[in-house]
């Protein structure tokens, strides 16, 4: 028999809510998520909470514990004083659905906008060869479990909702850094994309993302600052500028692939910061969106192609709840989200619907299509092909670049 401890848990939904007091038994070795489950089991069965692995690897049970963004399953009760009241609230940055469950689709939208890995044109899948020393930096970022604690704690969007449109957040900065440091990624405009379209300039290096990361990824030091420095390389470094002028190498427009050059890229004179930047050119937008969006609004392995959980999930995709929802199987009155996360507490139908595969805008669009179209790979509208093409003269490329 453990000791009784005091808890305050935020209960409510979009219409409003409040902190409710509970006294609950806590045993040795338990974590906050255990206590939430005990609350559900003994006192308040309708308490909604998202969770899955209970091992700090799925990133589902993100919540704010005593005001600090943390994983419920990794916060030991022994870290609190015995007479301390533990306050548990949902993530503040995202819209609340119910109780401790928030709508984190903002992150999925940003994931879809992030350009995917672009291998060299002359390299077939299966022929990728990389040295360990070249991929070590990127591997750190692949530890990300997408708990979105960094996104939640970043004051750029936490305190300024209006920045959500322009700011992708730390999780996608490490994605950009991961790809930009990838030895086989051929898309060389990622740094400029990160600056112009992902809002990297909004970050003021206060390192909160690093502080809250449960995987201890050095987000700021190893991803954001290197990306900022890469932008400085291209735009501000006096010596690089001089070298570019004298030796005529590393010209700014050479690295931007012709086939999907974002609309903000302006040759020679630098980027034209436009609002269209976040989605790329009109020709490429559709293809990119289709490629990175999974079936019926689920995140596909490509769009969520990071982390051990992602790899595990992609390996078991056929049986994943995501795939089930996308298929014609009727959804059981379920407790599973599109990420395979459990949602306890008997959430009403409308809330479960919000978790379902069609809960996102993309999902709604998809579900409106005929079933046959769901799994069909759309014909590329860009002039992208695996076959190598003859290099296009700079002048011609400049004309061809969409403005």
């Amino acid at each position: 028999m453990g000791a009784k401890r005091r808890f305050k848990v935020w209960r409510g939904d979009e219409a409003g809510g409040d902190l409710k007091d509970y006294e609950v038994e806590v045993n040795e070795g338990e974590v906050v998520l255990d206590v939430i489950h005990r609350l559900q089991a003994t006192q308040t069965p309708d308490l909604a909470c998202r969770w899955n692995c209970k091992a700090g690897k799925c990133g589902s049970c993100s919540m704010e514990i005593n005001g600090t963004p943390r994983l419920g399953c990794m916060t030991r009760m022994s870290t609190f004083a015995e007479d301390e009241t533990v306050t548990v609230t949902p993530l503040r940055t995202f819209p609340v659905i119910r109780d401790l469950v928030t709508d984190v689709s903002f992150n999925y939208e940003k994931a879809r906008q992030t350009p995917a890995f672009a291998p060299p044109k002359d390299l077939a899948p299966g022929d990728y060869r990389m040295q360990q020393v070249d991929v070590e930096r990127s591997q750190e970022f692949r530890k990300c479990i997408e708990c979105f604690l960094c996104q939640n704690t970043c004051h750029v969007v936490r305190d300024h909702e209006e920045n959500k449109r322009a700011f992708a957040g730390p999780r996608y900065f490490i994605r950009a850094a991961e790809l930009d440091m990838h030895p086989l990624d051929a898309q060389e405009d990622r740094k400029e994309y990160a600056q112009a379209s992902m809002g990297m300039g909004y970050c003021n290096i206060t390192k909160c993302c690093t502080e809250v990361c449960p995987e201890h990824i050095k987000i700021t030091d190893n991803a954001i600052i290197p990306m900022k420095e890469r932008v400085v390389d291209r735009r501000y470094d006096p010596l690089v500028w001089l070298g570019r002028k004298i030796f005529r190498r590393d010209q700014l427009d050479e690295g931007v692939p012709h086939r999907c050059r974002p609309s903000w890229v302006r040759t020679r004179k630098g980027p034209k910061w436009s609002s269209k930047a976040s989605t790329g050119t009109a020709r490429c937008r559709g293809r990119r969106a289709r490629r990175s969006t999974g079936p019926a609004g689920c995140r596909s392995p490509r769009s969520r192609s990071t982390g051990r959980v992602a790899r595990r999930r992609s390996a078991t995709m056929s049986s994943s709840p995501c795939r089930r929802r996308a298929s014609t199987t009727p959804t059981p009155s379920g407790t599973t989200t599109e990420r395979g996360h459990s949602v306890d507490g008997g959430a009403p139908e409308d809330i479960r619907g919000a978790f379902s595969a069609s809960g996102t805008e993309a999902g709604r669009r998809r579900s409106a299509r005929p079933p046959a179209a769901t799994g069909r790979r759309a014909a590329p509208r860009c002039r992208a092909s695996a076959a190598p093409r003859a290099p296009v003269p700079v002048a011609r490329r400049r004309r061809a670049a969409p403005r």
């Binding site: 963004p69 936490r158 300039g201 909160c208 600052i225 996308a326």
Partner: protein, 267 residues
């Protein structure tokens, strides 16, 4: 049949009245930063405009706050690189190096974190709301000039060379070569300044961080690995160098003013 969302379109955050629910002493770190940085800036300002007690004639000690000494007010022996500026009181003796070093520290990635949190409250601590209605970060004037850190790094490297030169010249006594406690302090200060400068994030990037293929550049990779190890301690080095700079300056001021004499080991 797919499930369709029926949730209303409203996207409202949880209605939590408290600005922060943190119960730990989150205010302590910003407070220490304010006291530390504020105290140091006050001391440095007083010393820079004191225009005195910066040179010890017997042992050729020159305080880093006055190096390189380039105004007409400088003692000729201390002006190793000539004098180019008038000796008005508003112009510091080290009018060349001080602004650049100030820029280097102001744009430093560690100091940015420190003063954004402590002075600008943007945010004061993680999950504590920042004190501003709107926020544009470093996307526009004046904060876009934080990108000048690279320039400041190059300048800081040059100034560290000058500080090293000063420390070497200080191995002097009226009889020729000499060595005392002042030399230990000066050399220690220079070593720490180099460590801080080299551990800079810009340096880490220039040395090898910009590479995509470390395997093709093994020497740069080793250098990058070394700088990365130092870079982990950039914050500590930032504070240590503030301490060594103040200590060096104070020691030289005290010896120069005759408050106590230098402890000599050789000559």
């Amino acid at each position: 049949m797919t499930t369709t969302a029926t949730r209303p379109g409203a996207r409202v955050r949880a209605a939590i009245a408290a600005r922060t629910l943190r119960t730990d002493r989150w205010w302590l770190a910003p407070l220490i930063t304010v006291i530390g940085l504020g105290g140091w800036v006050a001391y440095a300002t007083v010393r820079v405009f004191m225009h005195d007690f910066y040179w010890v004639e017997d042992y050729h000690y020159l305080t880093p706050f006055y190096s390189p000494c380039i105004t007409d007010r400088c003692i000729p022996e201390a002006a190793h690189f000539g004098t180019y500026l008038p000796g008005w009181w508003i112009i510091p003796e080290a009018a060349f190096s001080l602004p650049l070093l100030l820029l280097f520290r102001l744009t430093c990635y560690y100091y940015r974190k420190a003063y954004y949190r402590a002075f600008w409250m943007s945010p004061p601590a993680c999950a504590v709301p920042d004190g501003h209605k709107t926020y544009s970060g470093e996307t526009r004037f004046p904060l876009i000039f934080q990108n000048a850190h690279r320039y400041a790094f190059y300048a800081a490297g040059l100034i560290s060379v000058v500080n090293t030169y000063d420390a070497i010249l200080a191995f002097h006594s009226p009889d020729g070569f000499g060595f005392g406690l002042g030399n230990v302090i000066l050399v220690g200060n220079v070593v720490m300044l180099w460590a801080y400068t080299i551990s800079c994030h810009s340096c880490r990037h220039i040395i090898g961080g910009r590479l995509k293929h470390f395997s093709k550049h093994p020497m740069r990779y080793r250098a990058w690995t070394f700088v990365s190890k130092l870079n982990v301690r950039h914050m500590q080095l930032a504070w240590i160098t503030l301490g060594t700079l103040a200590l060096t300056d104070f020691y030289i001021m005290a010896v120069s003013a005759g408050w106590f004499s230098d402890l000599r080991f050789i000559n």
